[in-house]
Amino acid sequence: MRWAIEESGCCVKGDMKQVRLCFYLEPADDRYSKHRVNAPIAPKTGYPGKKGQHGKPESETDFLSWVDALPHKWRVNPFHNHFLQVPVRTSNKAIAAMADELLPQFYRQWKSGELEEVKHATN
């Protein structure tokens, strides 16, 4: 297991900063293959085809063909992402200590299935 800070999910909110931590599995970890995916790598310009209503591609067939034709890359996605809300002046060392503490906790929840668990309640 390992963790990394994902800068795209970090921001400042008043006196606090949000730090996004990504947690990754290693090959020896439980259910490693679940987040090892052959992901399509889309260009920054996005889908070039015509867009229809409601943000949908006009042609589903064309869109799916475009996805299939994209270069694919095997990679490991995070098995979990967590946001820390900490005072702005929190040091990197303190954040690393928090991440070190969270990593085994989330891995335990991953192994037990609790992280992915979805149980509808009657809202």
Binding site: E6, E7, S8, G9, C10, C11, Q18, R20, K34, H35, V37, N38, A39, P40, I41, A42, K44, G46, Y47, K51, Q53, H54, G55, K56, P57, E60, F63, V67, L70, R75, N77, P78, H80, N81, H82, F83, L84, Q85, E114, L115, E116, E117, V118, K119, H120, A121, T122, N123
Partner: protein
């Protein structure tokens, strides 16, 4: 564990929604609460993703009343995010905006989506949304309502342990658990007096009296006596509302009843027998000189 939820459980769907629009899932509206978990399934990596909760402001207008910055969402597997704080109003819908990428979308079998161009989360816009009535997308929020800040008194009282907590949003009832045993549902309160927590007890010890060591009194004393606090119990609290029962507070607290300070009362037998004791009125300290003992 029970979860209160909003939106659609994310899966790998057949279709996709493209970037640059504000999209709202009309399926499965939210109750009042604070959502701390979001799950998303992207078809291609999302960039600049925001997630928010929307409330209706008329027939085609919606206002995003709370949102969080997610950032990049990697495609190909469900991505789970915790540590968020999205406060919902009754009937809120979950929605998103992403600058790049595509999101898993299902064309039928749901309650529809709302759509408008651009980012309406950051701007809290209420622009007119267009909608369909059947589709949905892979965006889901949930929370397990729990009381927080559970605290129990540690020997502050001899007759009870007082348990306090911070209420869970939307909850209307609470139950305190002592060592995993429920103590009965309470109303919408944030404190409970556990008068049935184990009481403390006293170890009496042994009385010692001097044997002729003094001419004017008998010196009395006690050894091995002790005041023992009640058993230390672990307390957690669970919340419920009319339609849901939440999880135990993540962090509980321990508490116990105290026994109070030891007091003493000496008694003297009439004869050299272990019977017919009379109270020595002034004998109320541990080391007492009994000047009334017969010569």
């Amino acid at each position: 564990m029970p979860q209160i939820d909003v939106g659609i459980v994310p899966v790998d769907m057949d279709s996709a929604l493209v970037a640059g629009n504000t999209l709202v899932n009309k399926t499965n509206a939210a109750p009042v609460g604070t959502f701390d978990k979001v799950q998303i399934w992207a078809k291609t990596d999302l960039g600049g993703c925001l997630v928010g909760l929307f409330e209706a402001q008329g027939s085609d207008n919606y206002n995003c009343h709370d949102h969080e910055t997610i950032g990049t969402v990697t495609a190909g597997s469900v991505q789970t995010f915790t540590g968020m704080s999205l406060v919902s109003k009754l009937g809120s819908y979950i929605g998103t905006y992403f600058a790049t990428g595509t999101l898993e979308h299902d064309t039928t079998g749901h309650s529809g989506i709302l759509w408008v161009a651009g980012d309406q989360l950051t701007d809290h816009g209420i622009d007119g949304y267009s909608k369909d009535y059947v589709s949905g997308f892979s965006l889901y929020g949930s929370f397990s309502p729990r009381p927080t800040d559970v605290a129990a008194t540690n020997g502050d009282h001899t007759d009870k342990v007082v348990v306090t907590w911070t209420k869970a949003v939307g909850a209307t009832g609470y139950q305190v658990y002592r060592d995993s045993v429920g103590l009965g549902w309470l109303g919408d309160v944030a404190t409970y007096d556990d008068e049935d927590a184990d009481a403390g007890d006293i170890t009496a010890g042994s009385a010692v009296a001097s044997d002729g060591a003094h001419t004017e009194h008998v010196l009395l004393g006690v050894t091995g006596e002790a005041a023992n606090n009640g058993t230390t119990h672990t307390y957690v609290v669970r919340a419920k509302a009319a339609t849901w029962e939440g999880d135990d507070s993540l962090v509980g607290d321990t508490g116990y009843r105290s026994i109070g300070a030891l007091t003493y009362q000496w008694l003297r037998s009439e004869a050299d027998l272990d019977e017919s004791f009379a109270t020595i009125v002034a004998g109320t300290i541990e080391a007492y000189e009994d000047t009334g003992a017969p010569v």
